[in-house]
Homo-oligomer: 235 residues x 2
């Protein structure tokens, strides 16, 4: 009984925070008045209060209240009691570290298993996979583990970026990096382009948004899947 | 008594492996016949043998022999006895993990302290800093620590890339990532563009190559330094 949105990004170039997906969120969070926001990923190092304020302004447009988990004395209880949960983007290592520090891994898994709607964007989507080993982020803190929440049986690569054929830069392309991942790991990786998201409903995992996504399976050539494809067979 | 080259990249767009820096390496490794190569970073997952072969071909042009550390029964002894050491690029997490697994951190530090010439490129340069927390690589394996060799009193960001002002991609720029690093860490970071390297000689740390480098100090605006600048005052 899962009910999850795993979005590549919170923001699309040229529009406001969550704007591109707000209509869908209005349906997704139907009947829910208050969303628990987990601001741990701290994009650009902003404070939990500032980050929560940004999120609150966005959700105000669809008549939802937002409270930051940092305002609760007991974050575990806050997760248990939440009617809906949103984890936003920022740095995946900072986020993961903070989830472990606050003993939130198992409570989040239990809440989502029993059907609490969950929205993740960027770093908040990375942690929906089996591990954070396909994050694009800089490892600015050392978390106790790279194991993530495992809401889906594969890994996520958010902000997926196609190789720039005109680039003279010698750093690895995203595709090369994911290929290297598969020298040491066997689970599939979904490269979600900005504007795409996965909608998990019980056992279905449907690609949404206008774009295709790139699927990387162990020992296979990467391939594109269309919006509307069910990816629940991947594991 | 240090003698180190810390290069942003092994290869510049449009030229062969190490070609751009080979004249300097000929001087740097003067009088040395054999270089110990550590292929642990496995770019694109290639085998230690294949990687060593590429390196051997390049160094053959300046009349140096190359042996891979994986061909020695005892890698610690190999480092102790080496006349010169080269660690090439690939994945910084894979490299770091393998250095810890083979107990090579302290032996490398001792060898370099007593003056064994060391060349690093890309991942092999990342590990010359205090930590690997400013690598650009994907965290495809979980190393026992992010602490690195600490040959210089700051962190390295190789393949440094300026923001693309025309990009519509919402993923963080390199500068944003390093700014986030400084929310959790205080050491300086040197952004080394491809074609730049640092030459460490006893207590001097000189920027070499045609380009400027970008210096990120805690609580300061980032700034450029010219080739020829001594960076040994940074810490």
């Amino acid at each position: 009984m899962k009910n999850i949105i795993i979005a590549s990004t919170s923001t699309i170039h040229g529009s406001g925070y969550l704007d591109y997906i707000l209509d869908n969120l209005s349906t997704f969070f139907k009947g829910i008045e208050e969303i628990l926001f987990i601001p741990y990923a701290r994009p650009s190092g902003i404070s939990h209060d500032d980050y929560t304020r940004t999120v609150r302004v966005a959700f105000y447009k669809i008549n939802k209240n937002v409270t930051g988990i940092h305002t609760y004395k007991n974050p575990v209880e806050a997760v248990k009691k939440a009617k809906a949960i949103f984890i936003g983007g920022g740095n995946t290592f900072v986020l993961t570290n903070q989830l472990y520090k606050n003993d939130l891994i198992v409570p989040l898994q239990s809440a989502i298993k029993k059907g609490t709607p969950y929205l993740g964007t960027s770093a908040g989507s990375n942690i929906c996979g089996l591990t954070i080993k396909t994050t694009n982020d800089m490892p600015i803190v050392y978390p106790p583990s790279f194991k993530a929440l495992g809401f889906v049986p594969f890994n996520i690569n958010p902000h997926y970026l196609d190789p720039d054929k005109n680039s003279k830069h010698m750093g690895e392309t995203r595709e090369t990096r994911i290929k290297e991942f598969h020298n040491f790991n066997t689970q599939p990786v979904i490269g979600l382009r900005e504007g795409s998201w996965l909608e998990v409903n019980n056992n279905s995992i449907i690609l949404k948004g206008a774009l295709t996504a790139r699927v990387f399976e162990y020992n296979k050539l990467p391939y594109e899947v269309d919006s509307g494809t069910d990816l629940s067979h991947l594991k």
